[in-house]
């Protein structure tokens, strides 16, 4: 088959596959799952930070935070569009999230309980996301790769802003410093788990790498992230909650201690501290907005009819 051949050529040449190109079903499926999961993560990810918009402690921080959460909605829009080019309508993806069949990044099932958490989310969670996403800018599927380029640019702003929040807190009053340290203590482990289970436990990665969707293994990315945040944490004046963390001259990397994978799989299974709350928040918004969407559709339908009638006249 010509399509199959061309697809293989494109992958071999590390070129982009575009929506109108033929692609194998498993490739399409893998992409839809990954892109929609990513989109869902942006949407659910609005909640923990959104939680602090009303209470942000200065107007400048409020504006920055509002813009950030708005960006997340924007990222959701790009990503749902990218996924739609693969033939899955947006409403279907919304339904999957609504009914709890779709996954999103477990990290958002943790609460943003203090203002410092907003900083820690920016620095660690967005930091991990970027580490994950920068290689995805070269993902073989064109619309996905291009969406990631836009997203990564904004995310690196966000990471910087998170770092600044923590820096200010760390160098503020004693309570502020403590608040920052607590937040880092709480988010460090879950952030490292954002790269997924250890390679030994991650059976699907190989195929994604062969398709040029994934470029590095979970553990490689995790190491890269740790290597990045250790010096940043020193600049912040905060410690990372891992006594085994130390520079390994030989490897040229930081060694770090084992993570709590029981917790990870328990949260993944839906028992995160706020798993219920996040999904219920989403569902309520969706339910309460149903009449608005119906009205907009009815209005658009009527406009369309009127225009058609005019055109026919």
């Amino acid at each position: 088959r010509a399509g199959q051949e061309r697809f293989e050529e494109l992958i071999a040449a590390d070129s982009r596959v575009e929506p109108r190109d033929w692609m194998p079903e498993p490739y399409r499926k893998t992409l839809v799952r990954q892109v929609s999961q990513h989109a869902h993560s942006e949407i659910i990810g609005m909640q923990p930070e959104g939680n602090w918009i009303s209470r942000a402690p200065s107007l400048k921080r409020k504006a920055i935070l509002m813009a950030k959460v708005q960006d997340e909605a924007g990222h959701g829009l790009y990503l749902y569009s990218a996924a739609e080019t693969l033939g899955t309508p947006r409403d279907e993806m919304f339904d999957q999230l609504y009914t709890g069949r779709a996954k999103y990044s477990s990290i958002f099932n943790y609460p943003a309980r203090t203002w410092a958490d907003v900083g820690a989310i920016g620095w660690l969670v967005d930091g991990a996301a970027i580490t994950n996403q920068v290689p995805l800018c070269r993902a073989s599927y064109g619309p996905y790769g291009r969406a990631m380029v836009r997203i990564c640019k904004e995310e690196s702003f966000h990471q910087r802003q998170g770092w600044e929040i923590l820096y200010t807190l760390s160098h503020g009053t004693e309570e502020q410093h403590q608040m920052a340290q607590d937040a880092v203590d709480r988010f460090y482990g879950p952030a490292l788990q954002m790269f997924g289970p250890p390679d030994s436990d991650s059976p699907n990665s190989g195929q994604s790498m062969a398709w040029n969707i994934k470029r590095f293994s979970n553990d490689e990315l995790r190491q890269r992230f740790v290597d990045m945040i250790v010096p940043q944490s020193e600049a912040l004046g905060l410690t990372l909650p891992d006594p085994e963390l130390q520079w390994n001259e030989e490897r040229g990397h930081y060694d770090f201690g084992a993570l709590d994978w029981d917790e990870f799989f328990s949260v993944l299974k839906g028992n995160g501290p706020l798993s219920r709350q996040r999904l219920e928040h989403y569902r309520r918004a969706r339910d309460e907005g149903a009449w608005v969407r119906e009205a907009a559709a009815a209005y658009a339908g009527r406009q369309h009819q009127e225009q058609a009638a005019l055109a026919g006249a």
Binding site: L59, M66, T173, E288
Partner: protein
């Protein structure tokens, strides 16, 4: 001078309160596009508030944050309309339609203020407010002409908020004394109501009967909402007095 500062504070407080209210739609909007749009409007308003409160603060050596976080309830000067609860999307759109129509009239005159700072703020804000008004008018059409339910809901929103419209046009202290620095609220009444009437009727809705709720002095003496808004908005800043963020 202080009178100009007090005027800037009135305008800034309106923008701040409405921004605060609107921003709680983020992650709760009926469509993802509306999360973005409402956040946009909230951000614009917050931007206006920051300019206006920063300017106001110069009269007393205060920062925007001093004014936003460390004034008590009775020191704010926002109108009741912007303090009203979001309610459903229909009510939020009704509030947006009323306020952005008023604000558009206001800023399109304030660009001629003899106070160059106010004129510059108005100039920057005007384009944004034009977008806010378009957005609200568009949604008023969609809801008014959409389904029976949507038409009922936005009409309820308009009916419910209409009694706070007159307050927008009250020539409260210190505005009358400010001459060409300020725009006299009463001078906006006719055009604003005219525009509102057009937008409402275009959507097949009924302009509610005008009857102002008693007590329109922008002191908060007649609001039960403001205290709740501030309790939440100020809680963290007040827990750490003197801290920087």
């Amino acid at each position: 001078d202080e009178a100009t500062a007090r005027y800037a504070m009135i305008l800034g407080d309106d923008a701040l309160m409405l921004s605060q209210r609107l921003s709680s739609w983020i992650s709760r909007a009926p469509e993802l596009e509306e999360d973005v749009a409402l956040a946009n409007i909230a951000l614009d308003l917050l931007g206006h508030a920051r300019f206006l409160l920063t300017y106001a603060g110069t009269a007393w050596g205060k920062t925007e944050d001093d004014l936003a976080y460390f004034r008590d309830e009775e020191e704010f000067r926002s109108c009741r309309l912007v303090e009203q609860e979001n309610g459903d999307f229909g009510r939020t759109i009704a509030r947006q339609l009323i306020f952005s129509t008023y604000q558009h009239q206001l800023y399109s005159r304030l660009v001629h203020s003899t106070d160059p700072t106010l004129a510059a703020i108005a100039d920057k804000a005007l384009k944004e407010v034009q977008y806010h008004q378009d957005h609200a008018a568009q949604w008023t059409l969609r809801l008014g002409l959409g389904t029976e339910e949507s038409s009922r809901r936005i009409q309820d929103g308009l009916d419910s908020l209409w009694s706070y419209v007159e307050e927008l046009f009250l020539d409260v202290d210190p505005i009358p004394a400010l001459g060409d620095v300020a725009v006299l609220p009463s001078s906006l009444r006719e055009d604003t109501l005219h525009r509102l009437r057009e937008a409402i009727e275009a959507a097949g809705l009924t302009v509610p009967e005008m009857s102002g709720a008693y007590g329109s002095d922008r002191t908060g003496r007649f609001s039960e909402q403001r205290g709740y808004i501030l309790a939440e908005m100020q809680v963290l800043a007040r827990q750490h007095p003197g801290a920087t963020w």
